[in-house]
Amino acid sequence: MSTTTQSERLDTVVIRIAGDSGDGIQVTGGQFTNTAALFGNDIATYPDFPAEIRAPAGTLPGVSGFQLHFSSTEIYTPGDQPDVLVAMNPAALKVNIDDLPANGIVVCDTDAFDKRNFAKAGIESNPLEDGSLAKYRLFAVPLSSLTVKALEEVESLTHKEKVRCKNFFSLGMMYWLFSRSMDGTLAFIEKKFAKKPDIVKANSIALRAGYAYCDASESFQVRYEVPPAPTKPGLYRNIAGNTALALGLVAASSRAGIQMFYGAYPITPASDVLHELVKFKNFGVITHQAEDEIAAIGSVIGAAFGGKLGVTCTSGPGVALKSESLGLAAMVELPLVIANIQRAGPSTGMPTKTEQSDLLQAMFCRNGDLPLPILAPSTPSDCFEVAFEAVRIAIKYMVPVFILSDGYLANGAEPWKLPTSLDELPEIDVVYATSDQAEGFQPYARDDVTLARPWVRPGTPGLEHRIGGLEKQELTGNVNYEPKNHQRMTALRAEKIARIVQEIPDLEIDGPDSGDVLVVGWGGTHGSLTAAVRNLQGDGKSVAHIHLRHLNPFAANLGDIMKRFKKVLVPELNSGQLLLLLRARYLVDAIGFNKVEGQPFKVSELMARIEELLG
């Protein structure tokens, strides 16, 4: 290590790597993430995929990004803005540079800064020369040519293939800059490309070369160190929301001891749940790619009727299509789970962007009076917990349960402290009606506590009966049009949902029990709200935060908590949907803070708004 460079200590760093979808950005980011995690930093990541599959190389829509926040303290978000930006081409620079604060570090591959790429990115003059980057700490490095040069010895590869190794060269640079070991990534390369030895060789060389380059060149005066974070001891795994959701479902199915039938139709950003579940056939998981969303939920209702764990996953437009069938499922009172990985709407909207604007749809998309339970995970790993909980409630109450995740949780990742033994995953009891109840059996008799009706599997002798979407007579379940019966059944269906409050622990307040401002959030905004509120608490402000996992029914103590604060702020990535429900239910004059940009909240903007309220 060159003697002139000194080393500086940082609490927390945000790196963003950006380039063409073809540049292996996500792999590079993933590697740095694992290295940071293994080192003991707390981490949070967020990939930013382009809307197009493979927009032409070098164009703005073709830019793919990956942001990593790693820290020596507990963190809750991938970070508002990067401290370091690695831009593989002009387009990547143009798309991302405005997010970089003054004095931020920007690393560019000078080889990619040529006329052709300027044209593709719609850039007039060369930003590396026209001074437009003056306020940043610019490191213009010929990544491509340096990589190719380093790979001279590897004859077997074409020039093009060699250039493609530049992402590892840049990764090597980052490892040097942040004083990281390359071992983990070297091992990864060995494993990943095992079948192609020369690729293994090339990537390993490129990685080392990037590291060595910084060591040798005096370009960086400083290198940084971010010490490990004090995290709860245990076994950890970095996990994205959709993967966690899939695992939670498999875990629930296995702890309930019933086979899972997953029927779904692909849609961004929900498709990955299917891609995960198809890997678990050895757990007996049946996956069915249906012809559309209506068929998907239909198949799930059929499986539930057959006594299986029926699950479907989609996004907003798909929920719209499933809404009629949801009415049927709730009318026949069969258990199933429907997850909506929310994306920016309305209509097709912005499929790759995140939003929370389908809450009221989940509440009211159906004809008639028909409340359903709604759960929302708050972080990527929480998707596991919520999936498990949703299955438990669905089966216990014989009801379809909504999960509202979103694109941010689905693709974002965080360390997940793994359960160490099965006991941490409570068993889920499943009780099917049996033939010995045949005497005077009533398919719509109800459990005293849950009001659930019995789950009767076809194939059970003596319990033969018929169900359907027409109003049914209390107890017998026969078609019935009597006025009083309809009133009674409508009330029973609602009361059953209301009783789920029995399952909901009191909300815990992050902060004082009472005070000036209470921040009420739900779902994927948990990280940003926590960060914002904790920061302000750190400044001694009288502000607290509660985060709702249960959107319907609400936790029993929600109303009381709100009363204890002077002001209630409800930040949502929509135009005020939870806000409407809170005002209607509790007549509390809550204030909305609503962002509809397809982007998560920035901690800074949240803090600003809260401080405004604090006056």
Binding site: L235, R237, H288, I294, A303, G462, R466
Partner: protein
Amino acid sequence: MNPTDTLTRKDFVSDQQVRWCPGCGDYAILASVQGVFAQLGIPREKIVIISGIGCSSRFPYYVDCYGFHTIHGRAPTIATGLKASRPDLSVWVVTGDGDGLSIGGNHLLHALRRNIDINIMLFNNRIYGLTKGQTSPTSEFGKVTKSTPLGNIDRPVAPISFALSAEASFVARSADVFGAHLQDMLKAAASHKGSSFIEIFQNCNIFNDGTWKHVTDRGSREENVLFLEHGKPMVFGKNGDRGIRLNGLQPEVVTIGENGITEADLAVHDEADESLAYLMSRVESPEFPVPMGVFRRERFPTLGESIHAQIDAAKAKNEPDLMALLHSGDTWEV
């Protein structure tokens, strides 16, 4: 398990009062189905009827086995999920020409091509009964109905042709009043492994009375109906002296005995010849007799077989272990 040997039609009569219009063709179909169910050697609790919405779709309420009256057009999707996850059940779908071919056409297509081992009965009365008399996708061009006082301007679809193009592995046709024949078709469908499709001509005596008169009238029946039988020449007529001959791909009605035509000249039905099946699905009265019976029957892997083969293979290859699964991937100890 209920004993199956002693089952009779009555065992499948539910306690619900039948609510179809007096004279509706659905009554006869109900009786045939109940009769056949008693003869399948399948215990009552293992039989499930799933329907959509329509007069025909009230069917499950009247049969004492498991039943599910779902929503309009979606019965095939629910049957798919049930049968895929419960291969032990005998799953029957009841749908109408509107339920199955209008709102539900796409689900029908996909249920058929997937070769799920279910039996789909489409009651074709060429009208919307329950909503009181609008056109259906099988209503004749020019037909006057409540929704088309000046005549239907949509060209009808032929259910059998549609089912064949949907890759259905068993395709048959019968009529409400063809008791014995209908029961044969139902039994054949039950014994076929794969998606079975049966079009059942049904009379709606309130909104489309007599739509199949030419086929069902005792008087004209023999002259207007051709009963297809595998490996047999296509003969019909009171005296069994008329038949179908193929002139290239053009079918023609001929009379045996007349200008030297013998049975040997007639087309021979082959349930494994999909082109022949399609060709026969196009012949219509009055030029031709209406073909009844099994148009196509072939054995292909069913969806259930494939699903469970994959699951068994996966299990054999890789013991399910939840903890191991959760702990897979890159993990680190703190």
